[in-house]
């Protein structure tokens, strides 16, 4: 998406000129009443703003997870069966203005959820190809770096994906790995969970992160 903000300010352009003329007249012709008139054909002035634009790259996968039994895990988890598909999302930054990239995370589903927030439910790892860990097991990190447990139904907003702003053409691959531990009790049978990610970009110009760290929430950025 390309956004242009074009200002055609013919009327406005005239006001400063007249004001300057008035000031000049006041300073040089006190006591006289001379009237200068001028009519100028206003020139068209066009101003283009930068854009902040985020899209999906070709490495994005469908993220279809087969039904799980205890011990099942995705290929990148590092233990368990390690044979289930990884959810892969490639962020493609195409804006013209540099931007911070972040993500909101929401675990949703029924009250009896496959995600319990404990070691007996589904475990998640969300990582970028630059090595930034966003989710680890059942926890994210707040702005202070404290590990906090995700709560079903409560969205965690504004986790910074990188310490440096994205520039035009940058891509970031985000992978979601998962494990249903062998400790999952019988009560987990038939449960489900939905994890929703909302990836965001916010201009970095005039918006410093002020100590935010990649992999943690960042509240100093206006994400939208």
């Amino acid at each position: 998406m390309t956004t242009r903000s074009t200002a055609r300010r013919r009327g406005r352009r005239r006001w400063p000129v007249l004001a300057l003329l008035a000031v000049a007249a006041a300073g040089t012709g006190i006591g006289t009443f001379s009237l200068f008139t001028d009519v100028q054909t206003p020139a068209a002035n066009t101003f283009e703003s930068g854009t902040v634009q985020l899209g999906l790259g070709s490495a994005t996968s469908s993220c279809t997870v087969p039904v799980l039994v205890p011990g099942d895990s995705s290929t990148g988890w590092g233990s368990g069966s390690a044979d289930r598909p990884v959810c892969r999302i490639e962020l493609a930054y195409t804006g013209s203005a540099d931007a911070w990239l972040g993500v909101d995370v929401l675990v949703d589903g029924a009250a009896t959820n496959l995600f319990t927030g404990g070691s007996d439910g589904i475990q998640l790892k969300l990582r970028t190809d630059a090595g930034v860990t966003v989710l680890d097991g059942t926890a994210y990190r707040d702005a202070a770096g404290t590990a906090r447990t995700l709560a079903v139904g409560t969205e965690v907003e504004g986790i910074l994906l990188a310490d440096v702003p994205a520039v035009t053409g940058d891509t970031v691959i985000v992978e979601l790995d998962y494990l249903l531990p062998t400790a999952a009790p019988n009560a987990m049978q038939g449960r489900d969970a939905t994890v929703t990610f909302t990836f965001r970009a916010a201009q970095s110009s005039n918006q410093p992160v002020l100590g935010c760290v990649a992999g943690r929430q960042c509240g100093t950025i206006t994400w939208g």
Partner: protein, 377 residues
């Protein structure tokens, strides 16, 4: 894409114009943020979701076990359970009429699936006992029991007969013939359907007097030979079947040839003990002639099975004559330069004491007969 404060508001612009800073205002308008404002450009992708679901067992209840008496035990079958694509393991338990509970169908006897059912054979039953069975589907991952279904409802009771009224070991099948014309080991796969505890009898007949060596794991019952131009040997060994599945046997053959077979006798229902000899082995050489009448064997235990073997070199045919034995094999093969005739028959000896042998007949040979009678229970 959302835009907040993309440029100056009209009032701000006018204020700056009147102050004479129009140029500065225009420069500011080219940047996305107004100084002092928290507004910014931003963008967001439509939310991406990853849905994850855990499997559940189907059908929702474990299938009840159906027990059936079979030779050597109780056959158990039930409807399989499934949990996604995972492999389901079954734990089978029995409870007897005394209230004792134990796991069955373990190890090599573990349940297997076939034609839409799962089953196993409990070969550890005791005569006179009544059993009920349950099964429980379990998911075992990396050696750890994870999810399971509640145990099935108990099966209908099955009672193992108290008294074995027939033979304890019943002829079931014979292997294909293994022939050789030189010394060296040959492999003899156990007959199809062999299960642990079956009685296996190895019978080898050759046109040479040299006697075979006892194969590993076997018990020798008879080993005898004749010498001279009509030399021959007869060798009989036996064992309780195990999971090895094959016997390795060197008949010490030469160009005259040797033929060897395994005979399988299955345990009758209610029999749990391994096979043993039920009396001294009888064997000998009978003079050349059209017929031979091996001596019977004196059994020392009831419900025995008497196996009798008669063999003769150079015969064109062999057959069972008079007697109460049932013929299991009569064949003439010529793996080498000499025809080899072998007859195998058996009989049930319900009580201890002497049991009569059979009369065997042959055509065309002037060699001596070799024979052996062995009783098992």
């Amino acid at each position: 894409m959302r835009h907040d404060h993309l440029g100056l508001t009209p009032s701000a612009c006018r204020a700056r114009a009147w102050a004479g800073v129009a140029v500065a205002a225009l420069v500011a308008a080219a940047t996305p943020v107004v100084a002092g404002s928290a507004a910014a450009f931003f963008d967001a992708l439509p939310p991406r979701t990853a849905s994850m679901a855990a499997a559940a067992f189907t059908p929702p209840s474990a299938g009840a076990v159906t027990p059936t008496l079979v030779p050597g035990g109780v056959a158990l079958t039930w409807t399989p359970s499934a949990a996604g694509a995972a492999t389901v393991t079954y734990r089978v338990q029995r409870t007897d009429d005394l209230g004792a509970t134990m796991a069955v169908c373990t190890g090599a006897s573990a349940p297997t699936a076939s034609s839409g059912t799962v089953g196993c054979v409990d070969s550890t039953v005791q005569p006179g006992r009544t059993y009920r069975y349950v099964q429980q589907p379990v998911l075992v991952r990396n050696g750890v029991d994870t999810w399971s279904q509640p145990q099935s409802a108990p099966s209908l009771p099955v009672t193992v007969p108290t008294v074995v009224t027939g033979p304890r070991f019943v002829f079931a099948s014979a292997s294909t013939a293994a022939t050789s014309t030189k010394s060296g080991p040959v492999s003899l796969p156990f007959p199809a359907g062999t299960v642990d505890g079956d009685l296996l009898v190895l019978i080898s007949f050759g046109g040479r007097s040299t006697l075979p060596a006892l194969p590993v794991g076997w018990n020798e019952a008879a080993s005898l030979s004749t010498k001279g131009s009509d030399a021959s040997h007869l060798y009989v060994a036996w064992r309780s079947a195990d999971s090895s599945g094959v016997a390795t046997f060197d008949a010490q053959s030469n160009a005259a040839g040797t033929v060897t077979r395994l005979f399988r006798y299955a345990r009758a229902t209610g029999v749990t003990d391994p096979p043993v000899l039920a009396g001294p082995v009888a064997f000998g050489v009978a003079s050349a002639g059209a017929t031979a009448a091996p001596a019977g064997v004196a059994t020392t235990a009831a419900s025995a099975t008497v196996v009798e073997v008669a063999a003769i070199r150079g015969a064109a045919a062999i057959r069972l004559g008079s007697g109460t034995l049932s013929a299991r094999l009569t064949e003439v093969v010529a793996p080498g330069r000499v025809p080899l005739a072998v007859g195998v028959a058996d009989a049930f000896a319900p009580s201890t004491g002497p049991s009569a042998g059979a009369t065997w007949q042959q055509d065309g040979s002037t060699a001596d007969w070799l024979w052996a009678s062995v009783a098992f229970r």
